[in-house]
């Protein structure tokens, strides 16, 4: 994503008024993966690529390609386990780490 705002070089004199971030989609830069104690692992033999996990994931951390589940974005996966609960095929297990 192109950065219009150099948020890494903020100082007390250039903070935007009202704590506005002068660009959108900045959740991408917020690495919620740091909160994780468990991570999802998928059993591809059980998975039918229904992508329920993709729809339910609150952090858009399920990676897909050509309509198929290919893995998890661990920078943003916070390990909440929602995907594992919602998977009707019991294809996701939450493992330590």
């Amino acid at each position: 994503m192109s950065k219009k705002w150099d948020y890494k070089n903020v100082n007390a004199r250039n903070i935007p008024r009202g704590a506005v971030i002068p660009e959108a989609g900045t959740a991408d830069d917020y690495e919620t993966g740091g909160w994780r104690t468990k991570h999802p692992e998928v059993d591809k033999d059980k998975c039918i690529n229904c992508l329920f996990c993709y729809m339910y994931c609150p952090d858009s951390a399920v990676i897909t390609k050509d309509g198929k589940l290919v893995g998890f974005d661990l920078k943003h996966c916070k390990g909440c386990g929602i995907c594992a609960v919602e998977c009707k095929k019991d294809a996701i297990k939450m493992e330590n780490g």
């Binding site: 007390a12 009202g18 704590a19 506005v20 002068p22 660009e23 959108a24 900045t26």
Partner: protein
């Protein structure tokens, strides 16, 4: 250029709103403010204004609507009183922290319990430190004038803060007075268009509002910035007042000094009681007593050093608070004046009077008794009782 009308304070505010024609009004009715929203709803229904008028399900929602609309870039207004303002409280510091120049009219009314619909200042005094600017008005004309100027002050690039304008419930809001109403076109030209900094509706430049700022962030710096903006509002309000004088012939300061130049005894007061007190000042002056009065207009920011400078030659000063202070060192205005004097190293005997709670009448005889107390204090050099009640039933 202007028309003289015989209207109530509430209608005067509605007239100002009609001329300003904000983009969005989010409101909920509450006595004694209701007439303002009723009148405005009529303007909308008759097609006299193009405002998006949102009758909300509560005051909390009304002010939240204003926050969203103001972030979108709209010029936004609301009105309330008493419990309504109390219900808005959670959102007030959000509006100021987000630097949204929402303009609100609050018709001052007591806070329950016991339930009371009449005037005192406990509603807005309870919201005095929420980061909003506060402008108080003696009568319907001042309410009208202040409300129009508030738009310019709130939206000024050096300020960008929500602003509330006040007048007294019933005695002003429901009493018919002579008001000079400016032509719509004159007011529209004066307020101009709102130029928002980061409007959410600017889809070519998307922004994030209401983000998180925790440890390691800039929370304290944002707050310091906000304080600076509040301070800036002093000069901005004076500049706006000068411009307003050009279209109205009426110029306002941070406060009004009435016969203060050579005053020995002064009363500091807010809103309509200033009118009653001026009559007393005139009578005392005829008797040779050097009485004077300061009427607060801008209460936030608080013109501390300016007030102390105006008081400097007084022998004794009474501060009138129309709010139960709930602390035995006096009401909020008294505390502010005391601190201001102390900071400036000015040691004038100060005395506090709590008055007019829940609409209790304040008579000229009450004010006369205050001035006579001041003469005694000046003579003896002693403030026997720092906090006193006026007009209390024995």
């Amino acid at each position: 250029m202007s028309t003289v009308k015989a209207i109530t304070g509430d209608v005067a505010v509605a007239e100002a709103m009609r001329s300003i024609e904000p983009d969005v009004v989010g409101v909920y009715p509450i006595t004694p403010q209701t007439i303002i929203v009723e009148a405005y709803a009529e303007y909308v229904a008759r097609g006299e204004v193009q405002t998006e008028f949102v009758p909300a399900e509560s005051e909390h929602s009304a002010i939240s609507i204003c926050v969203g609309a103001a972030a979108a870039g709209a010029r936004t207004m609301t009105c309330t009183s008493s419990q309504g303002l109390a219900l808005m409280w959670e959102v007030l510091p959000i509006a100021s922290g987000m630097r949204l120049p929402i303009v609100m009219f609050d018709v001052n009314r007591a806070i329950s319990a016991p339930i009371n619909i009449h005037c005192d200042h406990s509603d807005t005094m309870g919201a005095r430190d929420t980061g909003w600017l506060q402008i108080y008005s003696e009568n319907a004309q001042e309410a009208y004038d202040n409300f129009i100027q508030a738009v310019r002050i709130a939206e000024h690039p050096d300020v960008q803060l929500p602003t509330m304008v006040m007048m007294d419930g019933f005695v002003i809001s429901h009493a018919i007075q002579r008001v000079e109403v400016l032509d719509d076109a004159v007011v529209k030209k004066f307020v101009g268009e709102r130029k928002a900094d980061y409007p959410l509706l600017d889809i070519d430049n998307p922004v994030t509002w209401g983000s998180f700022d925790g440890l390691g962030g800039w929370f304290m710096e944002f707050k310091k910035d906000q304080m600076q903006a509040i301070e800036n509002a002093k000069q901005v309000s004076l500049d706006v007042a000068k411009e307003y004088a050009k279209i109205s012939g009426r110029e306002y300061g941070l406060f009004e000094s009435y016969k203060m130049d050579d005053a020995d005894y002064a009363i500091i007061v807010i809103n309509s009681t200033a009118g009653t007190a001026k009559t007393v000042v005139d009578t005392l002056r005829e008797k040779g007593v050097k009485a004077g009065l300061i009427k607060i207009r801008m209460y936030r920011p608080f013109p501390a050093s300016e007030i102390v400078a105006a008081l400097n030659n007084c022998k004794a000063v009474a501060v009138m608070d129309r709010v139960p202070g709930y602390v035995d060192i006096g009401g909020p205005l008294f505390e502010d004046v005391q601190v201001a004097c102390y900071q400036e190293g000015v040691n004038i005997p100060l005395v506090n009077y709590i008055y007019g709670l829940g609409g209790r009448d304040i008579l000229t005889s009450h004010i006369e008794s205050v001035y006579s107390d001041l003469e005694t204090i000046a003579k003896t050099g002693k403030v026997a009782s720092p906090v006193n009640y006026l007009g209390i039933k024995e």
